[in-house]
């Protein structure tokens, strides 16, 4: 395992598109070569070295490359986007598209993330100690194939559009969420440990949702079918089990109509 450390030296005037900050792009390169990797600030071609001081050489492959960003990346987009292996740790905030389209490896953001983190994710792990903005694990605009696999864990809260068009994988929000959870989803699991404003599972075809707090506005297309005991992410509780969205089309499997399941923690 080899660790490459990037120390932010300058705050970009616009946003820096750091699409090269992935173990895949770093693999097999020396610190000097990494500093030469491309990025964009608006239409200007920049190098990683323009914004970061690079130390340490990368490993032979992505899998044995660890990237540590020792500072804040509030104005750096695409950190760890499309990565397939290795790790990226940011000791601060990160901007949009963290772990977007990622296939493997691990990302740890110690601050907050902006929107579109983990969009179209296929595998790997994305952990954020702070809050995330909107479109966590969402599909790209117009794509009906959203997140397919992997795990996103947000220790804080998230905004709207969580897991839109999701097909697989797991999203865990440890605090609250705003609106639109698993909209249009056809698979996958979303766990919200806090409260949600509403629109949980709208137009959802298949998949699971767990809400451990309250839902302020329930979707009218959800019907309570029973009460079950379940354990999810280390929490054991009694849940009211709803199926839906009854307003949406649903496929049949072995002669049975398949619905999406919403498990809402029952009032004590």
């Amino acid at each position: 395992m080899a660790t490459v450390t990037l120390k932010p030296t300058k705050v970009p005037e616009l946003m820096f598109e750091g699409y090269s900050i992935t173990p895949d792009a770093f693999a097999g390169k020396t610190a000097a070569q990494i500093a030469e990797l491309p990025g964009h600030e608006g239409k200007i071609h920049m190098k990683l070295g323009d914004f970061f001081e690079v130390s340490g050489n990368a490993g032979e492959t992505a899998a044995d490359t660890d990237i540590v960003i020792a500072g804040d990346c509030t104005r750096v987009k695409y950190i760890g986007a499309r990565m397939t292996a290795g790790t990226v740790t940011v000791n601060g905030n990160a901007d949009m598209y963290v772990g977007g389209w990622m296939k493997g490896g691990k990302i740890h953001i110690k601050g907050n993330m902006d929107s579109f983190c983990g969009i179209q994710m296929e595998g790997g792990e994305l952990l954020c100690d702070g809050d995330a903005k909107n479109h966590v694990g969402c599909a790209y605009r117009g794509d009906w194939r959203g997140m397919k696999g992997g795990t996103i864990r947000i220790k804080g809260s998230a905004g709207n559009d969580i897991g839109t068009f999701m097909l697989g994988g797991t999203i865990i929000i440890e605090k609250n969420a705003f609106i639109h959870v698993s909209t249009h989803a056809e698979g996958g699991t979303v766990v919200i440990k806090g409260d949600v404003e509403g629109r949980v599972g709208g137009q959802m075809v298949r998949g699971e949702m767990y809400v451990l707090g309250k839902i302020k506005f329930m979707m009218p297309g959800y019907k309570k079918v029973d009460t079950v005991e379940k354990e999810i992410d280390g929490v054991k509780a009694t849940f009211d089990h709803y199926i839906g969205d009854l307003g949406e089309r649903h496929p049949k499997s072995k002669g049975q109509v398949v619905y999406a399941n919403l498990y809402l923690k029952a009032a004590a």
Partner: protein, 458 residues
């Protein structure tokens, strides 16, 4: 002898009425009378007579005042400023013709700009829903000739599109709707009792921001399932009654407006409306249409989708491909996040329509307005370039709200020396090519549009 010009298009709202008659002075420089148009359209034409219309570009001076400068100097400033910026933003195009929109694309590519239009603060979310879920739509002619149930969801045409109800949606007598308004049932879904709601047979006064839940309730009822007693503040019986009306229609037409596109959920509200339309088609014929605001705001969607593959929020800064993701590449977000360093406002008024913070951010950098008139954006600009008024003294193609192209004509002669949008943008493009020592590429659909030859531009 004054001349009466018939079959004129009105360049104001999305209804794009093309039955206007304009009486002009015999030297074709004054508009004397306007017939058939609503009061907004009438005033728009009379506005062109205003003797105070700007005839020369104005540049802000170090002491804060505006000083008139020649066109060449303005074109040079615009070309240099946009080339120097790391990421310019070009926004607007609510009120200009498709020729101008097509010409601006060259400048946008050359300067690596983000190209956006008023849909970004209007029907942009409808585009996103259409990407996700399709668009089972029709033309306004079909609505007029067939629709016997008309639903206005989150829109108020009585004020925003004054002749929409009389030309297309409620009152006109069509082929299958010979009895006009008598034959049509009108539903209005709006949290306020608007003038359209007063006209409706059924008004569902829902809780503000709960359209998505109400759409879902409609769909759930349509699939024969039960719903809670009250959804979004509307009693279950009213919802069931409304669904029955829509289901038993011969042709149900849903018009939706900014009440859906710019309340919480945005594209998802439209997405649900599109799903509802699709569901209704299992019972009867149903169609849906966005109540686009300006007479040619459907234009940039058509023109740029043809040129770049995306209708709005097009980031061309890479030079190799277009990238579009509203939330990131949309004007207000770019401004709020300080992601652009030059702003060009064309045929729209960002000064009046954007929230104050984005305008404050944009004002840190060069701010250029291209508009025939004085407006709030022009008054805070560093450079204001006047152009001719599309549809009044400049002809051009426009797309009506149902995406039907209409050739608009000019009714009077343009102000001497004032170029059209297209001519101006072509000049700026030529200047950019000179500055970057590159050959201009004039790939154009119309050969005669290769070089602006109008004597007006000297």
């Amino acid at each position: 002898m004054p001349k009466l010009i018939k079959g004129v298009g009105c360049p104001y709202c999305g209804s794009s009425c093309d039955d206007i008659e304009v009486l002009v002075s015999d030297d074709e420089t004054k508009i004397l009378e306007v017939h058939n148009a609503c009061i907004i359209g009438t005033n728009l034409f009379h506005h062109a007579n205003d003797p105070t219309r700007p005839k020369l570009p104005r540049r802000r001076q170090p002491d804060g005042t505006m000083k008139e400068i020649p066109y060449d100097e303005a074109i040079d400033y615009m070309a240099k400023t946009m080339l120097a910026a790391k990421k310019p933003l070009i926004y607007g195009f609510g009120s200009t013709n498709c020729e101008g929109m097509s010409a601006v694309a060259r400048i946008a590519e050359k300067s690596g700009a983000v190209l956006d239009n008023c849909a970004t603060i209007c029907h942009g979310p409808s585009f996103l829903a259409i990407f996700d879920n399709g668009y089972p739509s029709c033309t306004l002619g079909e609505a007029k000739n067939r629709a016997d149930v008309v639903v206005f969801w989150g829109c108020n045409p009585m004020h925003a599109h004054p002749r929409h109800t009389s030309r297309y949606s409620i009152f006109p007598r069509g082929y299958f709707t010979q009895k006009g308004a008598m034959q049509r049932t009108v539903l209005s879904i709006d949290p306020r009792e608007t003038d359209t709601a007063k006209l409706a047979d059924v008004h569902l006064m829902l809780d503000q921001g709960h359209d998505y839940e109400l759409f879902d309730a409609f769909r759930t009822v349509l699939r024969g399932h039960d719903i809670p007693d009250v959804v979004a503040g509307i009693p279950k019986e009213t919802i069931i009654k409304s669904v029955e009306i829509m289901k038993n229609a011969k042709f149900c037409m849903i018009f939706f407006g900014m009440g859906c596109t710019h309340t919480d959920g945005r594209n998802h509200n439209i997405d649900a409306a599109i799903s509802l339309t699709r569901d209704l088609n299992e019972h009867t014929k149903a169609s849906i249409m966005a109540m686009r605001g300006h007479y040619n705001i459907a234009g940039p969607g058509q023109v740029w989708a043809w040129q770049f593959g995306f209708p709005y929020c097009i980031d061309l800064s890479k030079g190799t491909h277009a990238h579009m993701n509203p939330g990131e590449t949309s004007s207000v977000d770019l401004a709020m996040r300080d992601e652009v360093d030059c702003f060009v406002n064309v045929g729209a008024d960002a000064g009046a329509h954007f929230p104050i913070q984005p305008v404050q951010h944009l004002k840190k950098h060069p701010f250029i307005t291209v508009d025939p008139n004085f407006n709030m954006a022009s008054e805070i600009s560093d450079l204001h370039i006047p152009v001719r008024i599309a549809g009044v003294d400049e002809p051009g193609v426009v797309y009506r709200m149902d995406n039907v192209p209409i050739q608009f004509r000019a009714v009077i002669k343009g102000l001497p020396g004032v170029p059209s949008d297209e001519e101006l943008f072509n000049k700026v493009y030529e200047r950019m090519c000179e500055l970057t020592k590159t050959e201009p590429i004039w790939l154009a659909a119309k050969e005669d549009r290769r070089y602006p030859e109008s004597e007006a531009v000297i």
